[in-house]
């Protein structure tokens, strides 16, 4: 039997892709499908941990659950604040690191260290930095005479949220900076020179050359950071445990508490499914924009 080259190529293609598909199926598809199945049951201390089919009851309960909506709001505040701050600061750092100066290589390496450190360690450190009695932040503010008495950073709702945002920005900005730096390095210097001969100021070049050509990297960084920040758990769990009074409780922490503390498995599974759908929607949206953008910059369809 003879096969055309095209057929043979297609067969080889499938053979190459199947292992990856299997891994994805076991690691992602199965847990999500299983979670969805679980979310159709009530399985908690009330049912003596026996699964009892309850249809979409868990989802109905979620709509009524004020604590759930509060955690969604907290997660959004945390995600958007860190994303915006990290992009702005990361862009600034990337622009500086893209300049030629003595010791640039060393500085680039140092810049990535916060991102490489274990989160639990960073969280513990930042918790001490914001400690109301022994913390460095209060000490500095007191010495500068900006405040009279120490602020209980992690003990009050707004300061606690601010503290975890600062800690996360400190940890992750360098990651964004390195990603943007890679993009900056791919922009030919000729373009800036041509633009300056055309009469552009540095700010105009940044707006008209750098930003549009860096858009793919900005979008990818945003996507990464959105997904990570939306699922934030370790940093906040260690620093505040979601407190005070749920002020820093994010969706992940709520899910963790629901399942591990209240042993409410069915409801926890429903929370997972909804969070998953939200995330996928945002990622799909970003991916769509990314492909649009690629068409716009290179003209390739």
């Amino acid at each position: 039997m003879t096969t055309t080259i095209r057929e043979r190529e297609r067969r080889t293609g499938w053979m190459l892709i199947i292992p990856a598909m299997l891994v994805l199926a076991f690691v992602y598809a199965y847990p999500i499908a299983r979670s969805f199945w679980l979310s159709l049951f009530t399985e908690n201390l009330g049912t003596q941990l026996q699964p009892v089919f309850s249809g979409l009851n868990n989802y109905g309960r979620m709509i009524q659950d004020g604590r759930f909506w509060q955690t969604i709001a907290n997660t959004m505040v945390f995600t958007i604040s860190t994303l915006v701050l990290e992009l702005i600061l990361g862009m600034g750092i990337a622009l500086v690191l893209n300049q030629a100066f003595k010791g640039r290589g060393a500085v680039r390496t140092i810049a990535i260290i916060p991102w490489a450190l274990p989160t639990a360690l960073i969280a513990t450190t930042w918790a001490w930095i914001f400690n109301d009695q022994f913390g460095v932040v209060n000490d500095i503010l007191l010495r500068l005479g900006i405040i009279d008495t120490g602020i209980n950073w992690l003990g009050n709702p707004a300061p606690a949220m601010l503290s975890v945002i600062i800690a996360d920005v400190w940890k992750t900005t360098s990651f964004v900076a390195i990603l943007l730096l890679a993009g900056l390095q791919s922009i030919s210097n000729d373009l800036y020179e041509a633009h300056s001969i055309d009469g552009a100021s540095p700010w105009q070049s940044f707006r008209q050359i750098t930003l549009p050509l860096l858009m793919p990297q900005i979008l990818i960084a945003s996507l990464f950071r959105f997904a990570q920040a939306f699922g934030i758990f370790d940093l906040i769990q260690v620093m505040t445990g979601g407190g005070p009074g749920g002020a820093t409780e994010t969706v992940s922490i709520y899910i963790y508490a629901t399942v591990m503390r209240y042993l409410d498995f069915g409801y926890g599974a429903a929370l997972v499914v909804v969070t998953f759908v939200l995330l996928v929607a945002v990622v799909a949206l970003a991916a769509f924009f990314l492909s649009k953008l690629r068409t716009a910059t290179t003209g390739d369809a």
Binding site: D190, A194, S196, I197, G199, A200, S201, Q208, P212, G299
Partner: protein, 363 residues
């Protein structure tokens, strides 16, 4: 409209890297000056100094009599075509061409008018909405040129604009460039390492080597009266024969051929003879001074043959001769003649041209 003057330009990156040593030259309206020289001799650096992308260590740049040395690139009203074209990849052809005019706050009415005119001229009409990524190399080159032309600058700068095109296209675009810039009454500075481009396009050629100006003359004169050994060897293809010869009395000795030195010269112990392969010819019976040699290599160039000849009586000297393919010769022994008026003499030590003509350069 404008005149470009460079006086005593020097660019020193470090004590060891001085790509521009001391360059002074003028380019008038409608003049097409080519900076010609081997790779790394400082051509691009001079262009970047004129554009303001680099600051000179010493010296002055004047445009239209005004000292612009301290002006930023955008304030010099210069247009530059880059070797890489430097088209903005995220903008359409139209926006690429409009960019500089928008920055200068030209009315959109006027922008449209100028772009229409230039794109008609360059045949870019149907490409206006494409992105550079969708264009061929030749089209990109044309857009880069168009972007410079719509600016209507005081000075045009072009850095090896043809080097990324294939040979056939290069020849075609070269001819177009000549037409385009003949119609622009503006100084043009053109950088190339390709002598054919320099010869065909320029009204004036500046030959550079190691950051120093070697010769500044019209292209014809660069060919007929090279100012020194470097220019003689660099300009012309195949390369000029350059032979170091011993002198005896008023003659230079090549094998058993005594070549009379030019008139008023006090004979040095040694001298460099230069003669272009295309000027070496087969001897006629009427020739009194001839030299014999053995052909060691023949390269067929189509229209003619390039022979490498070992000169009899001077076995370490090889002379190359370009002979028409249809003339018969014997490989064992050819007899050649050197026309005396087409021989160049250079100082062995300094490389400077020795014939008196060179003392009064003619522009």
């Amino acid at each position: 409209m404008a005149k470009l003057e460079l006086s005593h330009l020097n660019k020193t990156y470090s004590p060891k890297i001085i790509p521009v040593k001391d360059v002074s030259l003028d380019v008038d309206d409608g003049e097409f000056l080519t900076l010609l020289g081997p790779s790394g001799c400082g051509k691009s650096t001079i262009l970047r100094l004129i554009a303001g992308l680099e600051q000179p260590t010493r010296g002055e740049i004047r445009i239209d009599g005004k000292n612009v040395t301290q002006h930023s690139p955008g304030d010099r009203n210069i247009a530059m075509v880059f070797q890489s074209y430097a088209l903005y990849p995220h903008m359409t052809v139209y926006d690429n061409m409009a960019s500089g005019l928008k920055l200068k706050r030209v009315s959109s009415e006027e922008i449209r008018r100028r772009i229409e005119q230039v794109s008609l001229f360059l045949g870019l009409g149907n490409l206006m909405q494409r992105k550079p990524g969708q264009l061929s190399g030749g089209q990109r080159q044309r857009v880069a040129l168009g972007r410079a032309l719509v600016r209507q600058p005081d000075v045009f700068l072009l850095d090896e604009p043809l080097s990324n095109l294939d040979a056939l296209l290069r020849e075609q675009v070269r001819a177009e460039l000549k037409q385009i810039f003949e119609s622009q009454n503006t100084p043009v500075v053109y950088v190339t390492h390709d002598q054919t481009e320099a010869m065909t396009l320029s009204t004036k050629v500046a030959v550079l080597s190691n950051g120093d100006l070697q010769q500044l003359d019209p292209p014809r004169r660069i060919y007929t009266h090279p100012a020194n050994r470097f220019v003689a060897g660099f300009v012309g293809s195949p390369q000029m024969n350059l032979l170091d010869l011993k002198c005896e009395g008023k003659f230079a000795i090549l094998g058993n051929y005594k070549i009379p030195l030019p008139g008023r010269m006090t004979p040095p112990p040694e001298i460099t003879l230069g003669v272009r392969p295309e000027h070496v010819r087969l001897a006629e019976p009427s020739d009194t001074h001839t030299l014999q040699g053995k052909v060691i290599l023949k390269e067929n160039l189509g229209m003619s043959d390039l022979l490498s000849v070992k000169v009899k009586g001077a076995e370490n000297q090889t002379l190359r001769a370009l002979l028409p393919s249809d003339r018969p010769w014997s490989a064992e022994e050819v007899t050649l003649a050197l026309p005396p008026d087409l021989i160049h003499w250079f100082d062995v030590e300094t490389g400077d041209r020795l014939t008196s003509e060179n003392l009064q350069p003619v522009y």
